[in-house]
């Protein structure tokens, strides 16, 4: 049975979540004529309509509540743990139980199922595509969100680890392959898919990962739920990317590392070339000399790194000189096949990084 945290009534505490809950219940529960006790959509501020609806309900349920009698709740007031809230709970249809609301928020919702929360956490714990510390914290978040608020968090279909190929296919991001925390199994998009909340008119709405339906009604209300998730995430800690994205959580705080230098550090460890992210990206073509600009992550991954024939000739010549080889390369010697070979070699280092994603460490 859901209870209010403080009393509701004229000049009483009237906390926003308590008023929301009482009003929502009065909106859901119908009188003998089949009309909701609260004629208007539920909201979070005490008002005359709230009092009117409470009195009407208490009057219709006088035998059980006895409002206005000595030792009972005054008419028009709902006290914590008292008869009115108990009667409201009893009067709720089965479809609208059990109700819940997070303190200091405005959205009444149906509790999620324990089995769903367990399944979500288990799926994370057994996912081999997450780094171990991250997945442990993420699973804890799912557990805690359910324990405290009876809300089930679920990862979105594309919210797990993304391979470099999957990252390359993402269009609504600036992050190319190797430039997303998702590529390293240290980030997740985890939201509220299946969350059932009570609309203003008392009807149940099942929402999507990003609480799109609730956001369309009220950005304030949806943000309150994200705030509740992020308050728990912060304690673990897991970090979000607000204000730019609300669903994403990652292992490291964004400003504590450089994603590009971290990719380069890994490639320098597992690849065959020497890399730098300044300028982004440059490489020595595996020839051991100076680094040359070789394009963006997306270009390199697509196999179309914009290799300059002048640069490649210079790199080859420097290599030949270092090895005391007689061969001298002219720019005209750099044909399409040679360029293609080095484009593939550049991509191969990215592929090596993708394969060795677990070895990634953050670098400033």
């Amino acid at each position: 049975m859901v209870d209010i945290t403080a009393n509701v009534g004229a000049k009483l505490a009237n906390k926003v979540h308590d008023v929301s809950l009482v009003e929502a219940m009065l909106r859901i529960v119908k009188n003998a004529k089949g009309a909701p006790y609260l004629a208007a959509d539920y909201q979070h501020n005490w008002r005359d309509a709230t009092k009117t609806a409470i009195i009407a309900f208490q009057t219709d349920h006088a035998k059980a509540i006895g409002a206005g009698q000595k030792g009972k709740e005054p008419l028009g007031e709902v006290l914590t743990g008292a008869a009115t809230i108990a009667a409201l709970n009893a009067a709720l249809p089965a479809t609208h139980k059990p109700l819940r609301i997070i303190p200091n928020t405005h959205t009444v919702y149906l509790e999620g199922a324990q089995a769903d929360a367990t399944a979500s956490a288990t799926a994370i714990r057994t996912d081999t595509e997450f780094e171990s510390t991250f997945k442990s914290l993420l699973a804890q978040l799912v557990d805690t969100m359910y324990a405290q608020h009876k809300i089930v968090l679920k990862i979105t279909p594309t919210g797990r680890r993304r391979t470099f190929a999957q990252q390359a296919a993402e269009v609504k991001t600036k992050a190319g392959p190797g430039e997303s925390n998702h590529n390293w199994g240290r980030a997740s998009d985890i939201g509220f898919k299946g969350f059932q909340w009570i609309q203003g008119n008392g009807a149940i709405k099942k929402d999507a990962d990003w609480l799109n339906s609730l956001e369309a009604v009220s950005g304030v209300k949806s943000t309150q739920l994200w705030d509740a998730r992020d308050a728990l995430a912060k304690a673990l800690p897991l970090y979000n990317l607000r204000p730019y994205e609300i669903i994403h959580l990652q292992l490291y705080r964004e400003k504590t590392f450089n994603i590009f230098n971290s990719l380069v550090a890994l490639m320098n460890s597992v690849g065959k070339m020497k890399w730098s992210a300044s300028p982004r990206y440059s490489a020595d073509f595996g020839l051991g000399g100076q680094l040359y600009a070789v394009g963006t992550s997306k270009q390199i991954w697509s196999g179309n790194a914009p290799i300059s024939k002048i640069d490649l000739a210079a790199a080859l010549n420097a290599h030949a000189k270092a090895k005391k080889l007689a061969k001298i390369y002219k720019v005209a010697d750099i044909d399409a096949k040679m360029v293609s070979t080095y484009q593939a070699a550049l991509k191969a280092d990215f592929q090596a990084a993708d394969t060795n994603w677990l070895k990634w460490t953050k670098v400033t």
Binding site: A175, W210, N212, E245
Partner: protein
């Protein structure tokens, strides 16, 4: 202006007093900051300036200043800020859909960069407003829009909007209003579901209503360039992944006039000139582009 006590004839004192009064009347605020670009803000020599912002906690949002002459009359700080204040000409930023001739400015660097652009919007005669557009974020990109006007010598924010949560996208187009010489805004909001569903795109036309002193929202339709019709969403999305159509959306064919129950790959544009430009843009892919009108369901219901 400083006052120096001077002993002189009363007439001269009167003249000096009047001069002092005149100087004081023009001291209406701090000096305007150095701006990277400015837009006319109507009569009385007013202009909107885009200026570098001040930093707090490594976030440095740019600001809009209302300026007359060299004086800043008002200042409004935008929401998104890079990790450095300096504004520099932006490299091509595909995340902001800007109409031709609108310059963009970047502050901050790498993953912390934010792009900002401003343009004039003539809400009605003698009421030039300012549309500020911003794009920020790296892993996940978000856009936001703020519309300012001048009221009583101060900046007044008339309207704001931003991308919704998730795989959402948006653009704001400035288009001619029904009233000659005036302009409306059309806000396009899209959402790409991860499932095999077409994009959900909504258009909202915002028109200035002087009687209510506010923007009024209504339905809208816009030109669209189509790059093929497909029997399934999956086929349309595959066609969009050809490296030439990644700005295109997959919509129900009915939204662009088809009755075949198919799906279309489209790019919504603000006007015929933009459509012509997109039609002429070369693509190695084989899809033939054509012109259509995009009308979301709400607009079609009103017809």
């Amino acid at each position: 202006m400083t006052y120096r006590p001077i002993v002189m004839a009363s007439g001269t004192v009167m003249i000096v007093a009047l001069m002092l009064l005149g100087c004081k009347k023009q001291d209406v605020g701090p000096a305007a900051s150095a701006s990277v670009t400015a837009v006319d803000a109507g009569k009385d020599g007013l202009s909107y300036h885009l200026v570098a912002g001040q930093c707090a906690n490594q976030i440095c949002p740019p600001a809009i200043e209302l300026v007359r002459g060299q004086q800043q009359l008002d200042r409004a700080v935008l929401l998104f800020g890079g990790d450095a204040a300096e504004l520099r000409p932006a490299q091509e930023d595909a995340t902001l859909v800007l109409q031709p001739g609108i310059a963009a400015w970047t502050s901050g660097s790498d993953a912390a960069a934010v792009t900002t652009a401003i343009q004039s919007v003539t809400l009605e005669q003698d009421k030039p407003a300012l549309l500020a557009q911003q794009s920020g974020g790296f892993e996940h990109v978000k856009r936001r829009y703020d519309l300012f006007a001048v009221q009583n010598g101060k900046l007044r924010k008339l309207w704001s909007a931003e991308d919704g949560a998730g795989p959402a996208y948006s653009a704001v187009f400035v288009v001619p209003a029904a009233t000659a010489g005036a302009q409306d805004l059309v806000l396009m909001r899209g959402f790409t579901s991860a499932e095999a569903q077409p994009d959900d795109i909504k258009l909202e036309r915002l028109h200035w209503n002087s009687a209510s002193d506010s923007l009024k929202a209504g339905t809208a339709s816009l030109p669209a360039v189509t790059a093929g019709r497909f029997t399934t969403v999956a086929k349309a999305r595959a066609a969009a992944a050809d490296g030439c159509h990644d700005r295109y959306a997959v919509v129900p064919g009915s939204a662009v006039g088809s009755t075949a129950g198919d799906f279309a790959l489209i790019q919504i544009v603000p006007d015929q000139a933009a459509a012509a430009s997109e039609l002429a843009r070369p693509c190695a892919a084989s899809a033939t582009k054509s012109l259509a009108t995009f009308a979301p369901a709400a607009a079609r219901q009103q017809e």
